[in-house]
């Protein structure tokens, strides 16, 4: 029997890996990848919980919304990354420190 806890644990693992990617990776695309991982973990949770809501299908529907949003964010994010790259000739966020004090 696959319980909810199984999903949650897996999703926690994926989320933490995504978190790590976002913080640690020195490549903007990889950061995007990390974000996608975290979104996927979230979607997994949505879907897992959605199993117990047959009346509204809310889990699956919001999972779909999230997928769409993720896609949009990736599109925009990539566009930004391309611009950044054009501008700084690098996609290593460590080298882009305009926010620095």
């Amino acid at each position: 029997m696959i319980t909810l806890t199984h999903f949650l644990v897996v999703s926690a693992c994926i989320f933490c890996i995504g978190l790590y990617t976002v913080i640690a990776k020195r490549n903007a695309i990889m950061i995007l990848v990390g974000i996608e991982l975290m979104i996927n973990a979230a979607i997994l949770n949505l879907v897992a919980f959605g199993k117990y809501d047959k009346l509204n299908y809310s889990g699956q529907i919001f999972a779909l919304f999230a997928i769409v949003l993720a896609a949009a964010s990736v599109a925009v994010g990539l566009a930004i990354i391309l611009n950044v790259y054009r501008h700084y000739k690098t996609i290593n966020p460590d080298n882009i420190t305009d926010l620095r004090d």
Partner: protein, 669 residues
């Protein structure tokens, strides 16, 4: 205006004074364009005429006239400009005019060709203005003004050749010594103003003057002080011992100036002043005047014996004669003093003019031969009688008058003084007799030194060697004529028709002074005879010594040199007054610079140092605390600064860390 048109004595006298002023102004405006002196000459001529005809003749032995114009008001006191015409003032004014005129004429020839001749005429007119004004002033303040102006004109004329160092030293000395007297005069004025509230001579000293109204005790210390102060003024102007030092030096001026200012008129102003305010003096002051006069007469006569400079001899002679006049004032016979003043003015002026003629010729001789000798030195002269016979005659007349030889004016006036002095001394008795005896001695000395001058200058041979004597010739007519005029005036008949008795002289009768002593008839015969005989004796001696060449004394003996140096008084003065004053000046400047100013600068230094200390405290302690706080904040900030490194991921990491910590906190709570 009216008074001027009708030529009242007052108007005329004002005109007499103002004409030279006008000449002075015209000359000043024209400057170098006018060298002829015509303006000055015209002014003094008209002045003399006016003074003689419209003033002297009108007022002499007539009623005294006076007029006042309001000048200015200070507080409640009004000061007037007044003119007083009485016998004394018109006489003085007339004397000044009558002396000034020949001198002007003489100067025309004497000063011819001098580069500064325009200044000469200007100064001379200024002097005449001041001197004439002085004579008729009714107000002491006004008199003081003219008194100082006279000194100023004298200053200018002494320093006429201002490139000559000795001349400018002399005029400075003259002015400063006169200033001492002037201060006495000023203090005297202050005392009178303080006592009487007015400075009007008539108001104070007139018949019913304030002096007699018991405002102040005549013998009080204040009045004595006033008398001494005025006498101090007169001392300086009339070159009385010890303030006489300026007069011999003043001979640096042109000789014509010396004759007018430093022999005849200005120096006599002191006597005139004392005569004008005579009632002011009490017994003490008069005695002081007499004593000082005697000392002056004696010392100056001694100094005159040893001088070689012809003008210096005459200068000391002037001082000595002024001493006589002072004695006359001091014994109360100021009319005799004025009489002597009048006669002395003529013959001394003549002596100077003659000396001027000699110097003129000697200077010509020097210039002609490119010689190197002092044209004024008696030792260089001699035998001039052959070349300048007329000058010789004129000068001899003047010398006789100076020596008091009968038939001359000097005989009359000198006798008047000496006899009066004897009478006064007899009255007082005792030590007072010393004064007339000394006067007799001076009279003998006078005869001797003037004889010495004549013998040295005119007899024997010209002592300047290797020169062609014929370059010498008689003085020009323009010079001789005024001299002749003065010579005539040096004879007895101008003053009295009786050549042997001064009692009938017009001046004495006109001034009519009430003597305090009784007349002793015997003296009136004894003294003139004694004086004449001793004078003759001294001339005989002098002739033997100087002409025959049997000079018995060491010419360079220390006594002679001592007398020539005026007993070293100049040096003594220099050492006692001038040097210490200058030293005091230097000391006070040192004090000012290093102590007073040093104190100020020191204070500023101290304040600067204190402020530096405070600045240090402020910078390192007060501000230090503030800075330490700021530093701490900075260091803290710097410590956490790496947070703000611009790396998105780090931001995110920190945010998440914070969230994580928050969550853990919530869990553990």
């Amino acid at each position: 205006m009216n008074s001027l048109l009708t030529i009242s004595p007052i108007g005329a006298s004002i005109l007499v004074v103002l004409l030279p002023l006008l000449a002075f102004i015209i000359q000043a405006v024209l400057g170098k364009k006018s060298t002829s002196g015509i303006w000055s000459l015209a002014a003094i001529s008209i002045s003399t005429l006016l003074s003689g005809i419209f003033v002297f003749a009108q007022v002499w032995n007539g009623t005294a006239l006076q007029v006042d114009y309001s000048w200015f008001t200070i507080g409640e006191k009004t000061f007037n400009v007044g003119i007083l015409l009485n016998n004394l003032t018109v006489l003085m004014q007339f004397i000044v005019c009558i002396i000034a005129l020949p001198v002007h004429i003489y100067s025309k020839a004497y000063m011819k060709g001098d580069a500064g001749i325009h200044r000469y005429w200007m100064y001379l007119s200024l002097f005449c203005f001041a001197m004439l004004g002085l004579t008729i002033s009714k107000n002491l303040l006004l008199m003081y003004i003219f008194w100082e102006l006279v000194g100023f004109a004298s200053y200018l004329l002494i320093g006429f050749w201002y490139t000559k160092e000795s001349a400018v030293q002399a005029n400075k000395k003259a002015f400063l010594m006169n200033r001492i007297g002037d201060l006495g005069f000023l203090i005297g004025i202050a005392i009178l103003f303080n006592t009487f509230g007015t400075l009007d001579i008539v108001d104070i000293l007139g018949k019913d003057g304030l002096l007699y109204q018991g405002i102040v005790d005549q013998n009080s210390g204040l009045m004595t002080a006033a008398g001494i102060c005025f006498f101090l003024g007169a001392m300086a102007k009339s070159a009385q011992f010890p303030l006489h030092l300026w007069l011999p030096d003043a001979m640096e001026g042109p000789t014509s100036v010396s004759s007018l200012i430093h022999a005849a008129t200005m120096v006599a102003a002191g006597v005139f002043l004392l005569s004008s305010i005579f009632p002011l003096f009490n017994g003490t002051v008069l005695l002081i005047i007499a004593i000082i006069g005697t000392i002056t007469a004696v010392t100056a006569a001694i100094f005159a014996l040893a001088q070689y400079d012809i003008k210096k001899v005459l200068a000391f002679s002037t001082i000595s004669q002024l001493g006589y006049m002072m004695v006359a004032v001091g014994i109360g016979a100021w009319d005799a003093g004025m009489f002597h003043l009048a006669t002395h003015a003529f013959f001394k002026c003549l002596l100077f003019l003659s000396a001027g003629a000699l110097i003129h010729e000697m200077a010509h001789l020097k210039a002609h031969n490119n010689g190197d000798f002092d044209p004024q030195d008696l030792r260089n002269m001699g035998g001039l009688r052959q070349y300048m016979p007329k000058t010789f005659v004129l000068m001899t007349v003047a010398s006789l008058a100076l020596a008091g030889f009968p038939l001359t004016s000097g005989f009359l006036s000198k006798d008047a003084i000496v006899i009066s002095a004897f009478e006064w001394a007899m009255q007082k008795g005792g030590v007072h007799l010393l004064i007339p005896i000394l006067l007799v001695l001076v009279s003998i000395l006078t005869a001797f030194y003037i004889g010495r001058l004549i013998f040295k200058a005119f007899f024997g041979k010209l002592r300047v060697s290797n020169l062609e004597a014929p370059a010498l010739h008689e003085a020009p007519k323009t010079m001789l004529l005024p001299m002749a005029f003065l010579a005539v005036c040096s004879l007895f008949f101008v003053f009295s028709f009786n050549p042997f008795s001064y009692a009938n002289s017009g001046i004495l009768n006109g001034l009519a002074v009430q003597y305090s002593f009784t007349e002793i008839h015997a003296l009136h015969t004894i003294i003139p005879i004694t004086l004449t005989l001793t004078a003759l004796l001294s001339w005989w001696l002098g002739y033997n010594w100087y002409v025959k060449g049997t000079y018995p004394l060491q010419a360079n003996s220390s006594w002679m040199r001592f007398a020539q140096n005026q007993f070293g008084m100049n040096e003594w003065m220099e050492k006692t007054f001038v040097a210490p004053t200058l030293l005091l000046g230097k000391a006070s400047y040192w004090f000012d610079k290093y102590l007073v100013d040093g104190l100020v600068n020191g204070a500023s230094y101290v304040i600067r140092k204190i402020s530096e200390i405070i600045t240090w405290i402020d910078k390192h302690i007060v501000d230090g605390i503030v800075n330490a706080v700021a530093q701490l904040a900075y260091e803290l900030g710097n410590a956490f600064r790496f947070v703000q490194n611009g790396r998105l991921q780090n931001y995110l990491g920190f945010t998440l860390t914070a969230v994580l910590i928050g969550i853990i906190y919530l869990i553990l709570r």
